[in-house]
Subunit: 197 residues, 2 copies
């Protein structure tokens, strides 16, 4: 919510512009209309010898929980180039050959989480500044309740299901606020999990 | 580009925040950081008796050119619910059963255009306020150079190719600035095309 116009510093009004059907931030002086839209979070699923590249978060939110490398898409990036950059930043891993795998609408927070299957280019990885650990984890070693976000849980579930049946395809779905409970994600991190990492 | 802080009206600085790697808008007084990210445009491909629901734009940009029903995704919507809303607004058509069909990164304008195949629910359509015409057009009647945007051209091309070979799958690609020339889109609308509509 804006209070002042970023262009002329006059007071912002919150009302429906003519010809529109929902309230926007509008400058009371210069009339400029400011729009807010959902943001895209982009990430990767990278497999090596059957295990998946995961990171334990060193930053809030969900510090200490496990995630796939992912972050906000930036201006100037394609979805996959953003996902590859996040993989480089969070796990120091170089990937290419992205294939869209999951697109998860999370309407109550105004985000779309988009994951690409990708191939590790060089045999190197290490935690970046936003990760405590980054390593490859086998399916049977994943501590599901210690995952950072519902979208990570759903994406990994789809991934292992697809791998078992022998082919991958894109998965599109919407997650609601109650998915945190439905999927049983813990409130607190337990540092001893994923000890094999 | 912001000049004034929307929260406190002080001057905005454009610099790289600590721990970040690209310039952001930062308030010189309160320190708030403002992020700008790509926006999603969502739309539908709706088929009826082999023809595709299209609209001639009544508004700029590209007024007078032909498009699939599409527009900016709003906060609180899933990708497909936004696409269905745009189809209602621009063509007064009710659709459901969305299947992701195309996701086109257009990095030089900071947009992702996402199209869903969808099913017409009731046998009614009519132009909304942003359309001069809305109607179903057969493949052989499409005036390709009169399409509104490169992403429409690419999405329709993929659609007819997939239809010919007998199955549909999602298409992910990036369009560059030169796609306008490469795809041969006209600079001016020619009102007499699509006369069968």
């Amino acid at each position: 919510m804006r209070t002042y116009c970023p262009t002329c510093a006059a007071q912002i009004e919150h009302r429906v512009p003519s010809g529109d059907d929902r309230p926007r931030d509008i400058c009371s002086a210069c009339g400029e209309i400011f729009y807010d839209n959902p943001r895209n979070v982009v990430g990767t699923i990278v497999e090596r010898n059957g295990a998946i590249l995961m990171c334990r978060r060193a930053i809030d939110p969900r510090r200490g929980f496990w995630t796939l490398p992912a972050g906000f898409l930036e201006l100037g990036e394609s979805g996959f180039s953003g996902a590859a950059r996040e993989t480089r930043e969070e796990a120091n891993a170089e990937v290419d050959q992205g294939e869209l795998f999951a697109m998860i609408d999370i309407t109550h927070i105004g985000q779309i989480h988009i994951f690409y299957r990708a191939t590790l280019v060089s045999d190197y990885w290490a935690p970046g500044p936003e990760s405590e650990i980054s390593c490859f984890i086998d399916e049977q070693d994943i501590a599901w309740s210690q995952l950072a976000f519902p979208s990570i849980h759903r994406t990994l579930t789809h991934y292992f299901n697809d791998r078992r049946r022998g082919y991958f395809e894109p998965h599109i779905e919407t997650l609601e606020r109650d998915s945190w409970q439905t999927l049983g994600l813990d409130r607190d991190p337990t540092p001893n999990r994923h000890a094999r990492c």
